[in-house]
């Protein structure tokens, strides 16, 4: 079994299962902070899936997309927590 087949048969289903678990927390989360944390972890897991997919497909073009996703994850976390904190602040 080559490494690409191992990634396609074993690694990608485990990552897809963990994405499903994170989505359960995203829909269930009791407060909005839990949803933001789950969204951040979802995008981070997406970067990992992109990394494994470059091994199975053999071309490293999609890694640029992973870079942009890392930027967007940090930006969304900072913006959402900033507005969440400003909502509870009284003048």
């Amino acid at each position: 079994m080559t490494l690409a087949e191992y990634c396609r048969i074993v690694i990608l289903p485990i990552l897809a299962f963990s994405v499903i678990l994170i989505l359960v927390r995203f829909f269930k989360g009791p407060s909005i902070a839990d949803r933001i944390v789950a969204l951040d972890l979802l995008i981070t897991t997406g970067i990992g899936i992109i990394g494994v997919y470059t091994i199975t497909s053999g071309s490293s073009t999609l890694l640029d997309t992973g870079m942009i996703l890392a930027l967007i994850a940090f930006l969304s976390t900072v913006a959402l927590s900033y507005y969440l904190e400003r909502r509870s602040k009284k003048k």
């Binding site: 933001i36 944390v37 091994i55 890694l63 959402l80 904190e85």
Partner: protein, 130 residues
Amino acid sequence: MNIFIGIVITLGTLFVLLAAVGLIRMPDTYLRISVNTKAATLGVGLLLGGVAFYFYDLSTTSRTFVIVLFLFLTAPVGAHLIGRASYFIGNKLWDQSKMDDLRGKYQRNSHVLKSEIDDTPEDNIDHTKM
């Protein structure tokens, strides 16, 4: 070489799976933040390290290095920001938590952090009394 890459990628995948299980099982928002920021960065770091060893050329290695460096720089900052906002909007700690170092030190309206508990108890954020 392929066996080494397989071991590294399997370890990274296990870390991501453990982060997902921890996000389901942890009883508290702050513990979930800790799971997110520790396990996911190490898991994705191992996965992208395996990708860099698999292709073994300069362009792929530089791109994976930039992604991992950016994740390692931004994960503590994002975790701190979301933890602070979550403390202000009133998420309680787990009922079996031993101690809360921030108890009574954040001011509710002005969001100022004081280093000791002052004499305005109605303005201090205290999660044990709510």
